[in-house]
Symmetry: C2
Subunit: 326 residues, 2 copies
């Protein structure tokens, strides 16, 4: 039986993270473009979690997990597997706690994320595929007795990401809906839990890329499912499976998982550049893509929150993605 | 005799602007990259004025000028000339005060700025050159009896931009230096005035593109000078001359005008993308370009403030500028 996250636990998590993570700012979208696209009654607030240390929300879960380890466990170091941003967060968290980190990255990881991991002082290994990487990290866990920090699963991870929701609820007046990007679902599990406790009437929507819809399929099946193939420009949302705790917390608190195409993600990246002056990787634009795409009529005229979950992307890749199609 | 800006006047200006403009957030740069580039002692705070309404600081001066007009003057409408961002601000300010605006834009203005002007409901005219545009706007002022809102000159304009400095000084602990972009110098005149009143020990540096160095030449000459040719990718900093009040307020409060090349601006845009997740037009990256370029050794290990003055740029132009050179 998976217990729901309680408000006192979420508050305690935020307190435990303390100054190690930032309370990221909220930005209100106000422009004639918004009025034209969604009607002048619509209010949109963006939680700018991309201004978090390391560029994404990931340190909240990574740090909170590490803070539960004993001194003995910490002394043996940590390990993690990631397409990039979780690896960066684990490297950062390890450095800030004075712990050794060895991370396995998938070799297609964005070069900026690889560079950041190195700069935070982690030892790096590369894997050909996500599957091979998961095997290798489990081997490191076994042979080196390092603590494995999961990229999205677990109740503590959800408590970490719930602190994003807690902050958001304290920063703005109650909203009608919040849209949260879904990769493995760790961010969504936490934020949805916090939002539903603090604003029971608020609807929470998850958003996945069409080419990495493990949570959507899990919702349809009523249990966690894997997908065979990940094909999306939103590499940070490319988790190949949904895991039990994350799935269950999402199922209880999320109204629906919506899907967005690569074209919708690129268009939302361009809107994000023009309207908010933010340079985001595709995942960071996914909540806006859902608002301007599948949820547009549903949320027209409503008070909406968008989670801008993070961004670490090199200039060349970014330029290629936002360049309008010729 | 040009009077310095007094603190009580700057405070009154901020109060008069009220909720019409945003108190923009400040972001602290913390990353291994900063440690490597400038040493781990260096502290850098960015004033994110690009999150201001209309995307730049310009509404502060435009609104404050319009708020000094009589009901009769307002009823006759306003006019302005601009490469883009001031025109957008005048269109926005006019709409928010229920006033008619006719703006002259130089025909090379970034397409996003043209679109924004239209969306804010201004009547647009296009001029072949800055020179022709200034002539045309003076003609509109004369024949239509519209109030001319200057893009950078004037004591009221400086009081408007001084509110950026006032906010910054209230948001962070005293800094050793602040770097401010200089086009016509209106932003710099105001911010430098506010900073020197509130933090007398803080050094203020202006930054101009090498291809539009009217303020630098004016400093050298000891009086306002024009330049014959403007050649820079930082189109928002391309003012062809320095004007008396702006020049005098800068001369009193600014330690030096530093110059940055187009290559340094592009490199700073890429850093801005990677480190702060911000998509800025060249002007918005100019303070960082000065910090990483000509001021690097001077400011190593110091507490530095950077003014990210604004950004309105279309995706295609932005992608072209940040694309690493092949």
């Amino acid at each position: 039986m998976i217990e729901s996250l309680r408000l006192d636990e979420i508050r305690a998590a935020r307190q435990q993270l303390g100054e190690r993570v930032r309370t990221t700012p909220v930005h209100q979208w106000e422009s004639p473009t918004l009025d034209e696209l969604l009607g002048s009654e619509t209010r949109v607030h963006l939680k700018l979690e991309l201004l978090q240390r390391t560029g994404t929300f990931k340190p909240r879960g990574a740090l909170l997990n590490m803070l539960q380890l004993s001194a003995e466990e910490l002394a043996r170091g940590v390990t993690a597997i990631s397409a990039g941003n979780h690896a960066v967060a684990v490297a950062f968290a390890a450095r800030s706690l004075g712990v050794d980190a060895k991370v396995v990255m998938i070799k297609t990881a964005n070069p900026l994320r690889v560079e950041l991991c190195r700069r935070y002082g982690a030892t790096l290994e590369f894997a050909e595929t996500a599957h091979a990487g998961f095997e290798r990290v489990r081997e490191i866990e076994r042979t080196e007795r390092r603590a494995f920090i999961h990229p999205f699963e677990g109740r503590v991870t959800a408590l970490g990401t719930a602190t994003v929701g807690l902050e958001f609820c304290e920063q703005v007046a109650p909203l009608d809906a919040v849209i949260v990007p879904v990769g493995g679902g760790g961010l969504c599990a936490g934020i949805a839990s916090a939002v539903k406790v603090l604003w029971p009437a608020c609807r929470v929507f998850g958003v996945e890329p069409t080419g990495a819809d493990s949570m959507r399929r899990s919702f349809e099946a009523g249990e966690p499912r894997s997908i065979e193939r990940v094909a999306t420009i939103a590499d940070s949302l490319g988790a190949p499976y949904a895991a039990p705790i994350t799935f269950e917390l999402c199922r209880r608190n999320v109204e629906a998982i919506t899907l967005v195409s690569d074209a919708e993600l690129r268009e939302a990246m361009r809107h994000t550049l023009r309207e908010f002056k933010l340079a985001v990787e595709p995942a960071g634009a996914s909540a806006l893509a859902a608002l301007l795409g599948p949820l547009r009529e549903t949320l027209r005229g409503r008070r909406v929150g968008l989670i801008v979950c993070g961004s670490n992307i090199d200039a060349a890749s970014y330029a290629r993605l936002v360049q309008p199609d010729s």
